[in-house]
Amino acid sequence: MQTIQGKSIQPGIAVGPIRLYDRGGSSPTKLSSLTPQRERDRFLAAKAQAALELRQLQEHACSRLGGDLAAIIQVQSAMLEDPDFLEGVEERIRQGASAEFAALASGEDCADMLLATQDEYLRSRAADARDLARRLAGILSGQEGAPQPPAGILVVQDLSPSEAVGLDSSTLLGLVSCQGSSNSHTAILARAMGIPSLIGVEIDPAWDGLPAVLDGDQGILYLEPDDEIRSAALERQRVLLEQQQRLLAQCGGPCLTKDGRKVELYANVGSPREAWTARANGAQGIGLFRSEYLYLGRRTCPTEEEQFEAYRQTVLAMDGMKVIIRTLDVGADKQAPCLAQESELNPALGYRGIRYSLTHPELFCQQLRAILRAAAFGPIGVMFPMVTSAQEVRAAKEMLEDCRRDLLSKGIEPGPVEIGTMIETPAAVVLADQLAQEVDFFSIGTNDLSQYTLAADRQNPRLAALCDADYTALMRMIRHTVDTAHRFGCRVGLCGEMGADPAMTGALLRLGLDELSVSPPALLSTRECISGIPLAQPSGVH
């Protein structure tokens, strides 16, 4: 057994195998056999792809890991447009270099500029410049991003923000890094994910695959732990879990308003691991499983098996509680490199959501089959995004039935699924009566519904004030949706960010929502908030 002391940046105990992080990558040849113009074209194409990937990672970070990491990724996006960086690339291409070499060399120059300042913050930005250049070089040489390591304790030399954000948190038991400070993005990530982590450890590649215990409380990594250490660690894990469960004991019960009305409190997640966290924090179901996260940051699409596994694990994690899976919602600000989407002038109003799926039946059916198979393991609802007509829903339902028949003919027994639709377009609100007759439930996506109702881009910082000034229009849309749905016996939930806003929770519930779905970190506070709300007051919406 080896005992290695490091610095803890996140407490907790992890028990599992060491997985060495293999960044991949290679040194490109300097000189190009193509014309400079050709290399320029290659670079520009890679630049566009990199911009897409970074936007996606930023959104991923924003919704699941917090603003700090998102801001760091944003700096990389800005560097990609920096004239010094681009001129450095152009100069080298003009001299006959390959685009890969030009990108890496220019990235080094920018890194040097930042390192020369002796400022600690700027020196970490140097790592960002290199990370960006590596991403470009990787795209140009056709490499897949670093492969996801199998489940275990991840050991790295250092981790760039984009790498950190791109990690699959569902398989990460612990993190050990050589570099990084307690304020670095590695630390931010570890805290956001709540996984025990150490920094300041001299890494040895020979550790790969060894059983280990990571003691995040003491800051110690045990390699090939003896039985005493291992059982002490497992015992400590058990104690911590019990403590957490005792703290959450109040969450085991129903979520009640001050005047005793029951509210279904669900969670918005993107992975099985997040579902575990949601459950541990008192979620009574998953109101939104963002299936597009299975496509994030990937240059090849997930297979039916991979999707089935993710859905199945989520269903098992929720142990008999409902899991609502939203079918692939790409387009607009959510782009997946593996889907080769065309650029659009108006992506928010473009080829996305259910429109995309209905015109890509193979892809859609692959997802529907995976969902149907997972439904044999627990209650699943399937929900369609960006719906604007009853006809769309009917077409999707038909495809679902075709997939079910297909599975049965192959001897696979799918489970039953409830069917729902997102209400996130004005059309859907206005057609709520028609839609309510086609589905079992609605889920209101306030983020997009607000955007389309107010005709204001929610990604535009200049419009933030406008979007937040007056909710009357949005609240009327929601009230109409709820009233209409209930007339037809259709349940209504809400999965937008607004649900977790304590200033809005009361008003929303008074409109008659059956279910609120919030992000896992907001579950406890939302439950507390709801317990203080008396619903008998008037809704205040006119």
Partner: protein, 92 residues
């Protein structure tokens, strides 16, 4: 051409988000805009160069604006450094 000093109000200096916003603001004007701290200066549309100026909170820097829309640009930059526009928020 207009030249004027401004105080830097951002708690992390001209790093990260404020640097990006400054670049964004500068890009919307035709005039050339430079920021100088002591003997060193950087064109305001070049983020990395701006960051390497190592401008800290409460530093005074000199803004120079030169071009056809310099009036509007100077006004916008003064507003920027007085943080008079609503701050951009990370929105999902």
């Amino acid at each position: 051409m207009k030249t004027f000093p401004v105080r830097v109000p951002f708690s992390n200096g001209l790093h990260g988000r404020p640097a990006m916003e400054l670049v964004h603001t500068a890009q919307s004007f035709e005039s050339e805009i430079t920021i100088a701290k002591g003997a060193r200066s950087a064109v305001a549309t070049r983020m990395i160069a701006l960051m390497t100026l190592c401008v800290k909170e409460n530093d005074t820097v000199t803004v120079t604006v030169s071009g056809p829309d310099e009036e509007a640009a100077a006004a916008a930059l003064e507003r920027f450094f007085r943080q008079e526009d609503p701050p951009a928020r990370a929105r999902m």
